[in-house]
Symmetry: C2
Subunit: 323 residues, 2 copies
């Protein structure tokens, strides 16, 4: 059997409550007995049982980030930002990528959760969010007293991209959309549609290609499109960089040139975007800053000081060789 607080107490020859106080640095305990207890704990290699502790305390000092998977180069920077802030406040961060049960979340093993996982249903989120466990969602919009929302300024980004293309003289612009269950993806698509309509640019439903955020899907979709159409827009906006890269591959394979024949702009500014040939014009999302501000907000919420941190992360348009 693993060593427990009782064992420590026995060895140190004190009551278990004394042992507990001693280990937790309660100043009521005499220095000499604290020494005894510490010594005993050390000798036995004692570590407290977190489940028991958290159960009694009814808090975990732990905040969770729930994502859908570790694929894609997008997460790292966001994670870094969150991580930095969380640990600097004495909490710990756990990252869970799950697609079915989400026990860390539902069983309240964290004090607060940041959600970026479209697998988790909004209904579920509503039943777990509470005073004791606030949520910040990054990938949807939910109305609930304990669910906070931190969305990307997708519309602004798309507008900047389109403005740029318009300035370059493009009149007919297509869009490569991601899978429909992505909030951000659809937000970008909608922003695109609105802009096109308001600016009297030419496009048609058939110029809105549907892929699924992966590079391969971008390639496949663009390839299929070019094979079936004798006429094509002079520019495309993709809902993320990966698809932009795939599309460019397909375009070049078809003997057309980027950006001369077709310009392509991506979204996110993942690291490879600058190394790709041609380097990709894109909308940079400041992921690390986003992470930081989200984490700050969470900590504010947890410590009661109601938050002003939930501002949208800045976006920046980056012009490179693909336009």
């Amino acid at each position: 059997m693993l060593t427990t607080l009782k064992d420590v107490a026995k060895l140190a020859n004190v009551g278990v409550s004394t042992a507990s106080y001693a280990l937790n640095g309660n100043k009521l305990i005499k220095e000499s007995t604290r020494k005894k207890v510490l010594q005993a704990a050390n000798e036995l290699g004692y570590h407290p049982n977190g489940n028991a502790k958290n159960l009694k305390r009814s808090k975990n000092e732990m905040i969770g980030l729930f994502i859908s998977g570790f694929t894609g180069p997008f997460f790292n920077q966001l994670l870094e930002g969150i991580q930095d802030v969380v640990v600097s406040h004495g909490y710990e961060l756990v990252v869970c990528a799950s697609n079915e049960r989400h026990r860390m979340l539902t069983e309240r093993l964290v004090d607060g959760a940041i959600i970026l996982n479209y697998h988790i249903e909004s209904e579920l989120l509503k039943t777990v969010a509470s005073e004791k466990m606030p949520l910040i969602v990054l990938d949807r919009d939910i109305e609930h007293p304990h669910i906070y929302t931190a969305l990307l300024p997708n519309e602004k980004g798309i507008n900047q991209a389109l403005k740029h293309l318009e300035d370059k003289g493009h009149k007919e612009i297509g869009f490569i959309a991601g899978s429909t269950d992505s909030y951000d993806g659809e937000a970008r698509l909608n922003a695109f549609k609105t802009y096109i309509k308001n600016h009297n640019l030419t496009t048609g439903l058939n110029k809105i290609l549907r892929a699924d955020f992966t590079e391969d899907s971008g390639y496949d979709t663009m390839r299929a499109f070019l094979n079936n159409s004798h006429h094509y827009p002079t520019a495309f906006v993709a809902a993320n960089d990966e698809m932009a890269m795939g599309a460019i591959r397909a375009i070049e394979e078809k003997g057309l040139s980027v950006p001369a024949d077709i310009a392509v702009v991506g979204f996110d500014d993942i690291i490879i975007a600058q190394y790709f040939q041609p380097s990709i014009t894109t909308v940079r999302v400041h992921k690390k800053q986003w992470g930081e501000s989200v984490a700050e907000a969470m900590l504010d919420i947890l410590t009661g000081s109601d938050t002003k941190h939930l501002m949208k992360p800045p976006m920046e348009f980056i012009e490179r060789d693909s336009t």
Copy 2:
């Protein structure tokens, strides 16, 4: 107050033990009462308290991966591999990046842990490893009945790289090492030294540059080296791809050409390696497979079937334009 099992029981008008059995699908409970309980639980939005549950059951059905941070493109694929296997076995995976306390680990909030975090001291690991919580370490070698080791075949990789350079006619080869607290980094360095000695190749201590795994450090170190030396090796092996990239930048900036003047080979085969100009010759580590086999091993250990899964992940030499 949050809703507890007792609340559910009361609403369903049954004893709390009945409620517990009902929710856990125990076949002793009559179908009609189970319905009642489920209904009540649903109505109250009940989710069990994980801490209480895990405390009583004394298991968490959760395995932890402990890494030092989310920086660097190395982790994603490893993570993916682990994640896939873990969830397909009904466990959940939590990833923790901590550098001080490691509560998830020490407080036994996971049933098993995979360690790739040089911040965690081996002494600590020895005090937490136990029958109830086995460890697999990926970044060191520990002798302990409940700590298993899964290291990369660094030596093999380095040998392949050097053989390749030798075949290309290089006689004098340098090495760009990472920071000294990395087990893999030092293993690569040592493999390099041994090979050089055994094959009578020329090098000197001054041809072993010391950087810290980041691209910038590779750049700085190589730049400093070239500025101070009138003579340089015709090839360098770097302990990872990032540093190789940095070094190449410095070399080209100096007006020398890669690979004509100096050939460079990296290690890991991170995604950018193939996009970089020139694309980087490197030793591919099959990170996803590595992750998978490690996870398989962990599950084997946890379910008692003692493991045969701990084989070293395959490595593959990839020749590209930088040599």
